[in-house]
Amino acid sequence: MRDTRTKLLLYILNLIMSLLFIIPLLWMVVSSLKPENQIFSDLSSLKSLLPLNLTLDNYRSAFERIPMIKYLFNSIFYVSVICISGLGVNSICGYALAKLRFRGNEFILVCIIALMIVPFESILMPLYLVVNALHWVNTWFALIVPFIANCFSIFMFRQFFMDIPNEILESASIDGSGPLKTFASIVVPLSGPVFATAFILDFISHWGDFMWPILVTTGESLRNIQLGIQTFFTLPPIYYGQIMATLTFTTVPIIVLFLLLQKYYVQGITSAGIKG
Protein backbone atom coordinates (compact mmCIF):
# COMPACT_ATOMS: atom_id res chain seq x y z
CA MET A 1 0.00 0.00 0.00
CA ARG A 2 2.73 2.44 1.03
CA ASP A 3 4.71 1.23 -1.94
CA THR A 4 1.98 2.08 -4.44
CA ARG A 5 1.63 5.52 -2.92
CA THR A 6 5.38 6.18 -3.25
CA LYS A 7 5.21 4.94 -6.81
CA LEU A 8 2.32 7.21 -7.65
CA LEU A 9 4.11 10.18 -6.11
CA LEU A 10 7.25 9.36 -8.10
CA TYR A 11 5.23 9.14 -11.30
CA ILE A 12 3.59 12.50 -10.70
CA LEU A 13 6.87 14.25 -9.84
CA ASN A 14 8.62 12.67 -12.81
CA LEU A 15 5.81 13.65 -15.11
CA ILE A 16 5.88 17.29 -14.01
CA MET A 17 9.67 17.51 -14.24
CA SER A 18 9.96 15.78 -17.59
CA LEU A 19 7.30 18.11 -19.02
CA LEU A 20 9.41 21.06 -17.87
CA PHE A 21 12.40 19.58 -19.64
CA ILE A 22 10.67 18.56 -22.81
CA ILE A 23 8.21 21.42 -23.44
CA PRO A 24 10.72 23.89 -24.92
CA LEU A 25 11.97 21.26 -27.37
CA LEU A 26 8.45 20.10 -28.14
CA TRP A 27 7.43 23.69 -28.84
CA MET A 28 10.41 24.02 -31.18
CA VAL A 29 9.43 20.96 -33.22
CA VAL A 30 5.69 21.71 -33.25
CA SER A 31 6.20 25.38 -34.19
CA SER A 32 8.50 24.42 -37.04
CA LEU A 33 5.55 22.56 -38.58
CA LYS A 34 3.00 25.38 -38.25
CA PRO A 35 2.15 28.38 -40.40
CA GLU A 36 3.89 31.50 -39.07
CA ASN A 37 0.78 33.36 -37.90
CA GLN A 38 -0.55 30.34 -36.06
CA ILE A 39 2.56 30.02 -33.88
CA PHE A 40 1.65 33.31 -32.26
CA SER A 41 -2.11 32.93 -32.15
CA ASP A 42 -1.67 29.56 -30.38
CA LEU A 43 0.84 30.88 -27.94
CA SER A 44 -1.45 31.53 -25.02
CA SER A 45 -3.09 28.12 -25.06
CA LEU A 46 -2.22 24.46 -25.01
CA LYS A 47 -2.63 24.50 -28.77
CA SER A 48 0.91 25.87 -28.97
CA LEU A 49 2.14 22.35 -28.21
CA LEU A 50 -0.28 20.47 -30.44
CA PRO A 51 0.57 19.77 -34.06
CA LEU A 52 -2.42 21.30 -35.86
CA ASN A 53 -2.44 22.42 -39.51
CA LEU A 54 0.83 20.69 -40.24
CA THR A 55 2.91 22.15 -43.05
CA LEU A 56 6.47 21.82 -44.31
CA ASP A 57 6.48 25.38 -45.70
CA ASN A 58 8.87 26.64 -43.03
CA TYR A 59 11.44 24.04 -43.99
CA ARG A 60 11.04 24.73 -47.68
CA SER A 61 11.42 28.48 -47.35
CA ALA A 62 14.25 28.26 -44.81
CA PHE A 63 16.20 25.97 -47.13
CA GLU A 64 15.60 28.39 -49.98
CA ARG A 65 17.06 31.24 -47.99
CA ILE A 66 20.21 29.57 -46.71
CA PRO A 67 22.12 26.47 -47.82
CA MET A 68 21.23 24.36 -44.77
CA ILE A 69 22.02 21.04 -46.44
CA LYS A 70 25.48 22.27 -47.33
CA TYR A 71 26.07 23.46 -43.75
CA LEU A 72 24.85 20.10 -42.50
CA PHE A 73 27.30 18.26 -44.73
CA ASN A 74 30.11 20.60 -43.72
CA SER A 75 29.42 19.81 -40.08
CA ILE A 76 29.15 16.09 -40.62
CA PHE A 77 32.29 16.08 -42.74
CA TYR A 78 34.69 17.96 -40.53
CA VAL A 79 33.41 16.55 -37.25
CA SER A 80 33.68 13.00 -38.61
CA VAL A 81 37.22 13.59 -39.83
CA ILE A 82 38.22 14.96 -36.39
CA CYS A 83 36.68 11.98 -34.63
CA ILE A 84 37.93 9.24 -36.92
CA SER A 85 41.49 10.51 -37.17
CA GLY A 86 41.31 11.16 -33.43
CA LEU A 87 40.48 7.50 -32.84
CA GLY A 88 43.68 6.48 -34.62
CA VAL A 89 46.04 9.02 -33.10
CA ASN A 90 44.68 8.91 -29.55
CA SER A 91 44.23 5.16 -29.29
CA ILE A 92 47.73 4.35 -30.43
CA CYS A 93 49.16 6.93 -28.04
CA GLY A 94 47.03 5.53 -25.22
CA TYR A 95 48.23 2.03 -26.10
CA ALA A 96 51.89 3.02 -25.93
CA LEU A 97 51.33 4.72 -22.57
CA ALA A 98 49.50 1.69 -21.20
CA LYS A 99 51.53 -1.23 -22.51
CA LEU A 100 54.96 -0.22 -23.78
CA ARG A 101 57.89 0.53 -21.52
CA PHE A 102 60.10 3.38 -22.70
CA ARG A 103 61.90 6.32 -21.17
CA GLY A 104 59.63 9.31 -20.69
CA ASN A 105 56.48 7.21 -20.66
CA GLU A 106 55.42 8.41 -17.20
CA PHE A 107 56.37 11.98 -17.97
CA ILE A 108 54.24 12.10 -21.11
CA LEU A 109 51.27 10.66 -19.21
CA VAL A 110 51.57 13.25 -16.45
CA CYS A 111 51.79 16.06 -19.02
CA ILE A 112 48.69 14.81 -20.82
CA ILE A 113 46.72 14.72 -17.58
CA ALA A 114 47.92 18.22 -16.67
CA LEU A 115 47.02 19.57 -20.12
CA MET A 116 43.39 18.53 -19.59
CA ILE A 117 43.10 21.56 -17.32
CA VAL A 118 43.97 24.19 -19.96
CA PRO A 119 40.69 25.83 -20.95
CA PHE A 120 40.24 26.27 -24.68
CA GLU A 121 39.15 29.88 -24.12
CA SER A 122 42.54 30.83 -22.73
CA ILE A 123 44.47 29.60 -25.78
CA LEU A 124 41.95 30.76 -28.35
CA MET A 125 43.86 33.76 -29.62
CA PRO A 126 47.38 32.33 -29.79
CA LEU A 127 45.91 29.24 -31.44
CA TYR A 128 44.38 31.51 -34.03
CA LEU A 129 47.80 33.09 -34.61
CA VAL A 130 49.39 29.65 -35.01
CA VAL A 131 46.75 28.61 -37.52
CA ASN A 132 47.09 31.94 -39.28
CA ALA A 133 50.87 31.57 -39.49
CA LEU A 134 50.32 28.17 -41.14
CA HIS A 135 48.02 29.91 -43.68
CA TRP A 136 45.20 27.63 -42.64
CA VAL A 137 42.53 30.27 -42.11
CA ASN A 138 39.46 29.37 -44.14
CA THR A 139 40.66 25.86 -44.90
CA TRP A 140 39.51 22.52 -43.53
CA PHE A 141 42.86 22.14 -41.79
CA ALA A 142 42.00 24.94 -39.36
CA LEU A 143 38.77 23.24 -38.35
CA ILE A 144 40.22 19.75 -38.08
CA VAL A 145 43.92 19.40 -37.29
CA PRO A 146 44.10 21.27 -33.93
CA PHE A 147 41.44 19.00 -32.45
CA ILE A 148 42.58 15.54 -33.52
CA ALA A 149 44.75 14.90 -30.47
CA ASN A 150 42.60 14.94 -27.37
CA CYS A 151 44.05 14.52 -23.89
CA PHE A 152 40.86 13.12 -22.43
CA SER A 153 40.55 10.49 -25.19
CA ILE A 154 44.18 9.46 -24.79
CA PHE A 155 43.67 9.05 -21.07
CA MET A 156 40.46 7.09 -21.56
CA PHE A 157 42.12 4.74 -24.07
CA ARG A 158 45.06 4.26 -21.75
CA GLN A 159 42.81 3.31 -18.84
CA PHE A 160 40.97 0.82 -21.01
CA PHE A 161 44.09 -0.77 -22.50
CA MET A 162 45.66 -1.19 -19.05
CA ASP A 163 43.08 -3.91 -18.38
CA ILE A 164 44.03 -6.01 -21.40
CA PRO A 165 46.11 -8.97 -20.10
CA ASN A 166 49.79 -8.83 -21.11
CA GLU A 167 49.78 -12.56 -21.91
CA ILE A 168 47.61 -11.99 -24.96
CA LEU A 169 49.97 -9.34 -26.30
CA GLU A 170 53.07 -11.41 -25.51
CA SER A 171 51.76 -14.50 -27.22
CA ALA A 172 51.02 -12.42 -30.28
CA SER A 173 54.53 -11.02 -30.33
CA ILE A 174 56.03 -14.52 -29.87
CA ASP A 175 54.01 -15.59 -32.91
CA GLY A 176 56.01 -12.96 -34.76
CA SER A 177 53.46 -10.22 -34.97
CA GLY A 178 54.95 -6.71 -35.06
CA PRO A 179 53.73 -4.08 -32.58
CA LEU A 180 51.52 -2.28 -35.08
CA LYS A 181 50.03 -5.56 -36.23
CA THR A 182 49.44 -6.68 -32.64
CA PHE A 183 47.67 -3.41 -32.00
CA ALA A 184 45.53 -3.57 -35.12
CA SER A 185 44.64 -7.26 -35.07
CA ILE A 186 44.47 -8.04 -31.33
CA VAL A 187 43.90 -4.85 -29.36
CA VAL A 188 41.49 -2.96 -31.61
CA PRO A 189 39.00 -5.83 -32.02
CA LEU A 190 38.92 -6.24 -28.23
CA SER A 191 38.22 -2.57 -27.68
CA GLY A 192 35.03 -1.78 -29.58
CA PRO A 193 33.25 -0.13 -26.64
CA VAL A 194 36.03 2.32 -25.83
CA PHE A 195 36.33 3.33 -29.50
CA ALA A 196 32.57 3.89 -29.67
CA THR A 197 32.66 5.92 -26.46
CA ALA A 198 35.54 8.12 -27.60
CA PHE A 199 33.87 8.64 -30.96
CA ILE A 200 30.52 9.77 -29.65
CA LEU A 201 31.88 11.96 -26.85
CA ASP A 202 34.10 13.72 -29.35
CA PHE A 203 31.37 13.95 -31.97
CA ILE A 204 28.78 15.53 -29.71
CA SER A 205 31.21 18.05 -28.30
CA HIS A 206 32.45 19.16 -31.74
CA TRP A 207 28.98 19.16 -33.26
CA GLY A 208 28.27 22.17 -31.05
CA ASP A 209 31.46 24.02 -32.12
CA PHE A 210 30.69 27.66 -32.46
CA MET A 211 33.41 30.02 -31.32
CA TRP A 212 36.29 28.52 -33.30
CA PRO A 213 34.47 28.17 -36.64
CA ILE A 214 33.43 31.83 -36.45
CA LEU A 215 37.08 32.79 -36.20
CA VAL A 216 38.63 30.59 -38.85
CA THR A 217 35.97 30.54 -41.54
CA THR A 218 35.50 33.78 -43.40
CA GLY A 219 33.34 32.70 -46.29
CA GLU A 220 30.22 30.64 -46.50
CA SER A 221 31.87 27.60 -48.04
CA LEU A 222 33.21 26.03 -44.82
CA ARG A 223 30.55 27.23 -42.43
CA ASN A 224 29.15 24.62 -40.08
CA ILE A 225 25.52 24.19 -39.17
CA GLN A 226 25.77 26.06 -35.86
CA LEU A 227 27.02 29.17 -37.64
CA GLY A 228 24.36 28.62 -40.28
CA ILE A 229 21.50 28.81 -37.81
CA GLN A 230 23.09 31.74 -35.99
CA THR A 231 23.39 33.82 -39.15
CA PHE A 232 19.90 32.79 -40.14
CA PHE A 233 18.62 34.02 -36.81
CA THR A 234 20.10 37.47 -37.39
CA LEU A 235 19.13 37.67 -41.05
CA PRO A 236 16.01 39.80 -41.59
CA PRO A 237 13.16 39.27 -42.20
CA ILE A 238 12.78 37.11 -39.11
CA TYR A 239 10.17 34.34 -39.33
CA TYR A 240 9.93 32.23 -36.22
CA GLY A 241 8.57 29.24 -38.07
CA GLN A 242 11.64 29.17 -40.30
CA ILE A 243 13.96 29.64 -37.34
CA MET A 244 12.32 26.74 -35.52
CA ALA A 245 12.63 24.66 -38.69
CA THR A 246 16.40 25.25 -38.88
CA LEU A 247 16.79 24.55 -35.15
CA THR A 248 14.87 21.29 -35.47
CA PHE A 249 16.80 20.35 -38.58
CA THR A 250 20.10 20.92 -36.72
CA THR A 251 19.03 18.83 -33.76
CA VAL A 252 17.72 15.78 -35.58
CA PRO A 253 21.07 14.28 -36.72
CA ILE A 254 22.60 14.51 -33.27
CA ILE A 255 19.53 13.00 -31.61
CA VAL A 256 19.65 10.08 -34.07
CA LEU A 257 23.35 9.53 -33.37
CA PHE A 258 22.70 9.77 -29.66
CA LEU A 259 19.91 7.22 -29.77
CA LEU A 260 22.09 4.84 -31.78
CA LEU A 261 25.10 5.11 -29.49
CA GLN A 262 23.31 6.08 -26.30
CA LYS A 263 24.81 3.28 -24.26
CA TYR A 264 28.38 4.36 -25.02
CA TYR A 265 27.72 8.05 -24.50
CA VAL A 266 26.25 7.47 -21.07
CA GLN A 267 29.06 5.03 -20.31
CA GLY A 268 31.61 7.69 -21.20
CA ILE A 269 30.00 10.26 -18.94
CA THR A 270 29.55 7.96 -16.00
CA SER A 271 32.96 6.31 -16.18
CA ALA A 272 34.50 9.78 -16.12
CA GLY A 273 32.37 10.46 -13.07
CA ILE A 274 33.33 7.38 -11.16
CA LYS A 275 37.02 7.69 -11.89
CA GLY A 276 36.87 11.32 -10.79
Partner: protein, 306 residues
Protein backbone atom coordinates in the same frame (compact mmCIF):
# COMPACT_ATOMS: atom_id res chain seq x y z
CA UNK B 1 85.56 -23.33 -20.55
CA UNK B 2 82.17 -23.75 -18.96
CA UNK B 3 82.52 -20.27 -17.56
CA UNK B 4 83.13 -18.73 -20.95
CA UNK B 5 80.23 -20.59 -22.46
CA UNK B 6 77.96 -19.34 -19.75
CA UNK B 7 79.18 -15.80 -20.14
CA UNK B 8 78.63 -15.96 -23.84
CA UNK B 9 75.16 -17.21 -23.25
CA UNK B 10 74.51 -14.44 -20.75
CA UNK B 11 75.91 -11.82 -23.08
CA UNK B 12 73.70 -13.04 -25.85
CA UNK B 13 70.75 -13.01 -23.51
CA UNK B 14 71.50 -9.46 -22.38
CA UNK B 15 71.99 -8.25 -25.90
CA UNK B 16 68.70 -9.72 -27.11
CA UNK B 17 67.10 -8.27 -24.02
CA UNK B 18 68.52 -4.80 -24.61
CA UNK B 19 67.80 -5.03 -28.30
CA UNK B 20 64.24 -5.86 -27.47
CA UNK B 21 64.15 -3.00 -24.99
CA UNK B 22 65.58 -0.60 -27.54
CA UNK B 23 63.00 -1.79 -30.01
CA UNK B 24 60.19 -1.26 -27.51
CA UNK B 25 61.46 2.27 -26.85
CA UNK B 26 61.53 3.01 -30.54
CA UNK B 27 58.04 1.62 -31.06
CA UNK B 28 56.78 3.50 -28.01
CA UNK B 29 58.11 6.81 -29.29
CA UNK B 30 56.71 6.29 -32.75
CA UNK B 31 53.29 5.44 -31.29
CA UNK B 32 53.08 8.56 -29.14
CA UNK B 33 54.67 10.93 -31.65
CA UNK B 34 51.58 11.91 -33.69
CA UNK B 35 49.53 12.81 -30.61
CA UNK B 36 52.43 14.49 -28.83
CA UNK B 37 53.36 16.62 -31.85
CA UNK B 38 49.75 17.72 -32.33
CA UNK B 39 49.43 18.59 -28.66
CA UNK B 40 52.69 20.54 -28.70
CA UNK B 41 51.70 22.59 -31.73
CA UNK B 42 48.06 23.22 -30.91
CA UNK B 43 47.93 23.21 -27.14
CA UNK B 44 51.32 23.70 -25.48
CA UNK B 45 52.66 26.27 -27.91
CA UNK B 46 49.50 28.42 -27.88
CA UNK B 47 49.46 28.22 -24.11
CA UNK B 48 53.07 29.40 -23.82
CA UNK B 49 52.35 32.12 -26.37
CA UNK B 50 49.37 33.31 -24.32
CA UNK B 51 51.61 33.68 -21.28
CA UNK B 52 54.27 35.49 -23.30
CA UNK B 53 51.79 37.77 -25.13
CA UNK B 54 50.45 38.88 -21.77
CA UNK B 55 53.59 41.03 -21.43
CA UNK B 56 53.21 42.66 -24.84
CA UNK B 57 51.04 44.98 -26.84
CA UNK B 58 50.12 44.31 -30.45
CA UNK B 59 47.29 44.31 -32.92
CA UNK B 60 45.96 40.84 -33.71
CA UNK B 61 46.30 41.55 -37.43
CA UNK B 62 49.91 42.75 -37.11
CA UNK B 63 51.65 40.06 -35.07
CA UNK B 64 54.93 41.24 -36.60
CA UNK B 65 54.78 44.49 -34.61
CA UNK B 66 54.93 43.28 -31.05
CA UNK B 67 56.02 45.66 -28.29
CA UNK B 68 57.24 44.34 -24.99
CA UNK B 69 55.42 46.27 -22.27
CA UNK B 70 56.21 44.28 -19.12
CA UNK B 71 53.42 44.26 -16.60
CA UNK B 72 51.45 47.11 -18.23
CA UNK B 73 48.57 44.84 -19.29
CA UNK B 74 48.18 43.51 -15.78
CA UNK B 75 48.32 47.02 -14.29
CA UNK B 76 45.65 48.12 -16.76
CA UNK B 77 43.62 45.01 -16.01
CA UNK B 78 43.40 45.71 -12.31
CA UNK B 79 42.12 49.24 -12.90
CA UNK B 80 39.66 48.22 -15.63
CA UNK B 81 36.07 48.44 -14.40
CA UNK B 82 34.86 46.19 -17.22
CA UNK B 83 37.29 43.46 -16.16
CA UNK B 84 35.99 43.58 -12.59
CA UNK B 85 32.41 43.61 -13.84
CA UNK B 86 33.10 40.56 -16.05
CA UNK B 87 34.88 38.79 -13.23
CA UNK B 88 31.96 39.52 -10.94
CA UNK B 89 29.42 38.28 -13.50
CA UNK B 90 31.44 35.09 -14.06
CA UNK B 91 31.62 34.43 -10.31
CA UNK B 92 27.94 35.26 -9.83
CA UNK B 93 26.93 32.82 -12.55
CA UNK B 94 29.20 30.14 -11.13
CA UNK B 95 28.16 30.56 -7.51
CA UNK B 96 24.47 30.29 -8.41
CA UNK B 97 24.62 27.69 -11.17
CA UNK B 98 26.86 25.14 -9.47
CA UNK B 99 24.70 24.40 -6.39
CA UNK B 100 21.37 24.86 -8.18
CA UNK B 101 22.28 22.68 -11.14
CA UNK B 102 23.87 19.98 -8.99
CA UNK B 103 20.89 20.05 -6.65
CA UNK B 104 18.41 19.69 -9.49
CA UNK B 105 20.57 16.93 -10.99
CA UNK B 106 20.65 15.01 -7.72
CA UNK B 107 16.90 15.35 -7.37
CA UNK B 108 16.36 14.07 -10.93
CA UNK B 109 18.72 11.16 -10.29
CA UNK B 110 16.72 10.22 -7.19
CA UNK B 111 13.51 10.48 -9.21
CA UNK B 112 14.66 8.06 -11.89
CA UNK B 113 16.69 5.66 -9.74
CA UNK B 114 13.90 3.16 -9.16
CA UNK B 115 11.95 0.42 -10.84
CA UNK B 116 9.26 2.60 -12.48
CA UNK B 117 8.30 1.20 -15.87
CA UNK B 118 8.71 4.56 -17.57
CA UNK B 119 12.04 5.46 -15.95
CA UNK B 120 13.94 5.29 -19.22
CA UNK B 121 11.47 7.64 -20.87
CA UNK B 122 11.94 10.13 -18.03
CA UNK B 123 15.72 9.78 -18.21
CA UNK B 124 15.71 10.57 -21.92
CA UNK B 125 13.42 13.55 -21.30
CA UNK B 126 15.85 15.02 -18.77
CA UNK B 127 18.78 14.24 -20.97
CA UNK B 128 17.51 15.54 -24.31
CA UNK B 129 18.55 19.20 -23.77
CA UNK B 130 22.12 18.01 -23.07
CA UNK B 131 22.49 16.53 -26.53
CA UNK B 132 20.98 19.57 -28.23
CA UNK B 133 23.73 22.06 -29.08
CA UNK B 134 24.04 25.26 -27.06
CA UNK B 135 23.55 27.39 -30.18
CA UNK B 136 20.18 25.78 -30.79
CA UNK B 137 19.23 26.10 -27.12
CA UNK B 138 20.24 29.75 -26.95
CA UNK B 139 18.29 30.73 -30.06
CA UNK B 140 15.28 28.70 -28.94
CA UNK B 141 15.27 30.38 -25.53
CA UNK B 142 15.55 33.87 -27.04
CA UNK B 143 12.16 33.08 -28.54
CA UNK B 144 10.86 31.58 -25.29
CA UNK B 145 12.03 34.65 -23.35
CA UNK B 146 10.55 37.10 -25.87
CA UNK B 147 9.05 39.91 -23.75
CA UNK B 148 5.98 40.39 -25.95
CA UNK B 149 5.05 37.07 -27.47
CA UNK B 150 7.24 34.48 -25.77
CA UNK B 151 5.96 31.14 -24.48
CA UNK B 152 7.20 31.83 -20.94
CA UNK B 153 5.34 35.12 -20.66
CA UNK B 154 2.22 33.39 -21.98
CA UNK B 155 2.60 30.78 -19.26
CA UNK B 156 3.11 33.50 -16.64
CA UNK B 157 -0.10 35.19 -17.83
CA UNK B 158 -1.89 31.99 -16.95
CA UNK B 159 -0.79 32.48 -13.33
CA UNK B 160 -1.75 36.15 -13.44
CA UNK B 161 1.83 37.46 -13.68
CA UNK B 162 2.42 40.39 -16.02
CA UNK B 163 4.98 40.42 -18.86
CA UNK B 164 8.61 40.18 -17.80
CA UNK B 165 11.47 41.68 -19.86
CA UNK B 166 13.91 38.77 -19.15
CA UNK B 167 16.95 39.23 -21.42
CA UNK B 168 16.16 42.90 -22.05
CA UNK B 169 16.58 43.90 -18.42
CA UNK B 170 19.93 44.27 -16.70
CA UNK B 171 18.51 42.86 -13.48
CA UNK B 172 16.93 39.78 -15.09
CA UNK B 173 19.25 38.91 -17.98
CA UNK B 174 21.86 36.95 -16.04
CA UNK B 175 19.25 35.10 -14.01
CA UNK B 176 17.46 34.18 -17.23
CA UNK B 177 20.70 32.76 -18.62
CA UNK B 178 21.23 30.86 -15.36
CA UNK B 179 17.76 29.32 -15.51
CA UNK B 180 18.27 28.22 -19.09
CA UNK B 181 21.73 26.82 -18.39
CA UNK B 182 20.46 24.72 -15.48
CA UNK B 183 17.69 23.40 -17.68
CA UNK B 184 20.15 22.54 -20.43
CA UNK B 185 22.86 20.78 -18.42
CA UNK B 186 21.22 19.23 -15.33
CA UNK B 187 20.63 15.97 -17.22
CA UNK B 188 24.38 15.52 -17.69
CA UNK B 189 25.11 15.69 -13.97
CA UNK B 190 22.04 13.54 -13.34
CA UNK B 191 23.72 10.69 -15.25
CA UNK B 192 26.82 10.90 -13.06
CA UNK B 193 24.76 10.94 -9.87
CA UNK B 194 22.74 8.03 -11.19
CA UNK B 195 25.89 5.98 -11.68
CA UNK B 196 26.88 6.86 -8.12
CA UNK B 197 23.47 5.85 -6.77
CA UNK B 198 23.60 2.53 -8.54
CA UNK B 199 26.98 1.85 -6.98
CA UNK B 200 25.52 1.88 -3.47
CA UNK B 201 24.90 -1.66 -2.21
CA UNK B 202 21.23 -2.60 -1.73
CA UNK B 203 22.10 -4.52 1.44
CA UNK B 204 22.73 -1.32 3.38
CA UNK B 205 19.22 -0.10 2.62
CA UNK B 206 17.69 -3.44 3.57
CA UNK B 207 19.62 -3.60 6.83
CA UNK B 208 18.63 -0.05 7.72
CA UNK B 209 14.95 -0.63 6.97
CA UNK B 210 15.01 -3.68 9.25
CA UNK B 211 16.41 -1.35 11.90
CA UNK B 212 13.38 0.84 11.33
CA UNK B 213 14.89 3.68 9.27
CA UNK B 214 12.42 5.52 7.03
CA UNK B 215 13.07 6.77 3.48
CA UNK B 216 14.15 10.24 4.58
CA UNK B 217 16.56 8.88 7.17
CA UNK B 218 18.00 6.54 4.55
CA UNK B 219 18.53 9.50 2.23
CA UNK B 220 20.18 11.54 4.97
CA UNK B 221 22.39 8.83 6.48
CA UNK B 222 23.11 6.43 3.63
CA UNK B 223 22.56 7.97 0.20
CA UNK B 224 24.04 11.43 0.69
CA UNK B 225 27.23 10.29 2.51
CA UNK B 226 27.82 7.51 -0.05
CA UNK B 227 27.68 10.04 -2.85
CA UNK B 228 30.44 12.20 -1.38
CA UNK B 229 33.11 11.54 -4.02
CA UNK B 230 30.66 11.69 -6.89
CA UNK B 231 29.33 14.99 -5.57
CA UNK B 232 32.79 16.54 -5.38
CA UNK B 233 33.44 15.42 -8.94
CA UNK B 234 30.15 16.85 -10.16
CA UNK B 235 30.82 20.13 -8.38
CA UNK B 236 34.30 20.33 -9.90
CA UNK B 237 33.30 19.79 -13.51
CA UNK B 238 30.24 22.01 -13.15
CA UNK B 239 32.37 24.80 -11.71
CA UNK B 240 34.95 24.56 -14.48
CA UNK B 241 32.20 24.54 -17.09
CA UNK B 242 30.45 27.48 -15.44
CA UNK B 243 33.56 29.66 -15.34
CA UNK B 244 33.81 29.29 -19.12
CA UNK B 245 30.36 30.80 -19.77
CA UNK B 246 30.48 32.18 -23.30
CA UNK B 247 28.04 30.94 -25.93
CA UNK B 248 24.87 31.88 -24.03
CA UNK B 249 25.74 35.57 -23.50
CA UNK B 250 27.46 35.78 -26.90
CA UNK B 251 24.31 34.71 -28.75
CA UNK B 252 21.58 35.92 -26.41
CA UNK B 253 22.71 39.29 -25.08
CA UNK B 254 26.19 40.07 -26.42
CA UNK B 255 27.16 40.93 -22.85
CA UNK B 256 24.36 43.43 -22.33
CA UNK B 257 22.18 45.02 -21.15
CA UNK B 258 24.58 47.37 -19.37
CA UNK B 259 27.30 44.70 -19.25
CA UNK B 260 25.15 42.60 -16.94
CA UNK B 261 26.02 39.38 -18.80
CA UNK B 262 29.58 40.14 -19.88
CA UNK B 263 31.79 37.27 -18.68
CA UNK B 264 35.54 36.71 -18.67
CA UNK B 265 35.46 34.39 -21.67
CA UNK B 266 33.34 36.90 -23.59
CA UNK B 267 35.69 39.72 -22.60
CA UNK B 268 38.73 37.75 -23.85
CA UNK B 269 36.95 37.19 -27.14
CA UNK B 270 35.88 40.80 -27.55
CA UNK B 271 39.23 42.31 -26.53
CA UNK B 272 41.11 39.88 -28.75
CA UNK B 273 38.99 39.65 -31.85
CA UNK B 274 36.79 42.73 -31.89
CA UNK B 275 39.20 45.33 -30.50
CA UNK B 276 42.24 43.28 -31.57
CA UNK B 277 44.15 44.02 -28.38
CA UNK B 278 45.96 40.70 -28.53
CA UNK B 279 48.29 41.46 -25.62
CA UNK B 280 45.55 42.63 -23.31
CA UNK B 281 43.31 39.68 -24.20
CA UNK B 282 46.22 37.33 -23.45
CA UNK B 283 46.67 38.87 -20.01
CA UNK B 284 42.98 38.22 -19.28
CA UNK B 285 43.44 34.65 -20.60
CA UNK B 286 46.27 34.09 -18.13
CA UNK B 287 44.15 35.29 -15.21
CA UNK B 288 41.30 33.13 -16.50
CA UNK B 289 43.59 30.10 -16.65
CA UNK B 290 44.80 30.73 -13.10
CA UNK B 291 41.20 30.83 -11.87
CA UNK B 292 40.47 27.46 -13.50
CA UNK B 293 43.65 25.93 -12.05
CA UNK B 294 42.82 27.29 -8.61
CA UNK B 295 39.35 25.76 -8.73
CA UNK B 296 40.61 22.38 -9.95
CA UNK B 297 43.28 22.18 -7.28
CA UNK B 298 41.13 23.29 -4.40
CA UNK B 299 38.47 20.76 -5.40
CA UNK B 300 41.10 17.99 -5.68
CA UNK B 301 42.47 18.85 -2.28
CA UNK B 302 38.98 18.85 -0.84
CA UNK B 303 38.47 15.40 -2.34
CA UNK B 304 41.72 14.02 -0.94
CA UNK B 305 41.25 15.42 2.57
CA UNK B 306 38.08 13.50 3.20
Amino acid sequence: MMQTAMNAHKREHISTFSRQKRRETLVGYSFVTPAVLLLIFFLVLPFLLAVAFGFTKFNLLRPDKIHFTGLDNYKLLFTDGLFYKSLWNTLYFTVIVVPVQSGVALMLALLVNNSLKLRNVFRIAYFSPVVTSMTVIAILWISLYNPNEGLINSALHFFGISNQPFLRSSSQAMNSIIFMSVWQAAGYQMMIFLAGLQGISKDIYEASSIDGANKLQQLRYITIPSLYNVTVFVLTITTIQAVKLFVQPYIMTNGGPENSTRTLALLIYQQGFQFRNAGYASAISVIFFLIVVLISFSMKKFLRDK
